[in-house]
């Protein structure tokens, strides 16, 4: 089972995503932004960080990287892709997911142990969770406010495309407290909080994040 983790200039949590992939027994493959070859991976993770320094807009420049044209093609054909934080931003800028991530409503970078409710466990990345299950994983960003127009919001909610929602105090002003969404096919998931930093209570608030990574392994095994 090979899972590609992309490194853009400025990616930060790529090594942490790779660690999480290894922790569940899969092989992590480093994918360089400038290389359009995906090296036969079964799934791709777009990690957190400040790719291109968040110049112009978060993820706005990364989305045009050579590796992204291959990923976009494969994702449209059903390959599982998980975009975490900056990765979620790249997915939205690429139009693989609707909406956009904007500045946190209180204007500060916020790092906190965030409670989430999983609302959709039919995606490639959340099948190991129960619907309604609450988890705690780190949230750490300055631009995590999910915004979209009313019709998009109605569609996301109506079609059950919201994957995770913030529980408790609103951390960033996201519409309907949306923390993560998926596409109709359920193979592309964007998530603002960081499951790769909750794989071991030694270094994170819990091991709740492992579920995202065990889900993809289970999904791929069953194919």
């Amino acid at each position: 089972m090979k899972i590609g983790v992309v490194t853009f200039p400025g990616s930060l949590d790529d090594r942490d995503a790779a660690r999480a992939v290894r922790a569940v027994g899969a092989e992590s493959v480093a994918l360089w932004h400038g290389d359009s070859d995906l090296h036969g991976v079964d799934a791709v993770i777009l990690p957190g960080g400040f790719s291109y320094g968040d110049y112009l807009r978060c993820g706005a420049i990364s989305r045009f990287a050579p590796v992204m044209s291959s990923i976009i093609d494969k994702a449209k054909a059903g390959m599982p892709v998980l975009g975490i934080c900056n990765g979620f931003q790249v997915l939205c800028e690429s139009h693989l997911l609707p909406g956009a991530l904007t500045r946190n409503h209180e204007l500060h970078f916020l790092c906190s142990d965030q409670r989430l409710k999983i609302e959709n466990n039919s995606t490639a990345w959340t099948s190991e969770f129960e619907v309604g299950q609450e988890i705690v994983i780190p949230l750490k960003n300055g631009e995590g406010s999910f915004q979209c127009d009313d019709s998009t919001l109605a569609r996301l909610e109506g079609e059950g495309l919201v994957v995770a929602r913030y529980v408790g105090k609103d951390p960033n002003g996201s519409r309907n407290l949306i923390a993560g969404i998926t596409n109709e096919g359920g193979n592309i998931v964007g998530l603002m909080p960081h499951p790769e930093h909750a794989i071991d209570p030694l270094t994170g608030p819990s091991a709740d994040g492992l579920g995202f990574f065990t889900s993809i392994i289970t999904q791929m095994v069953s194919k």
Partner: protein
Amino acid sequence: MAKIVVDVMLKPEILDPQGQAVGAALPRLGFTFAKAVRQGKRFEIEIDGEATDAVLAEVSKAAETLLANPVIETFNVRVEK
């Protein structure tokens, strides 16, 4: 030589916390004129030759593809005299 300016603003319905923060700061400094403040971006693009319609059309395409995110932003393109 010409200068083309692209102004990018968040769509009116999108939350603009930076604009709000500026709007809140103004009266604290004694400026009471503002009813509302929204914050945007301005791109200044220098080109050789004249700003023909063809060139402006290209700039608009670039604005739609890169300079602005049409999901949440609007833009306008003009030539600066």
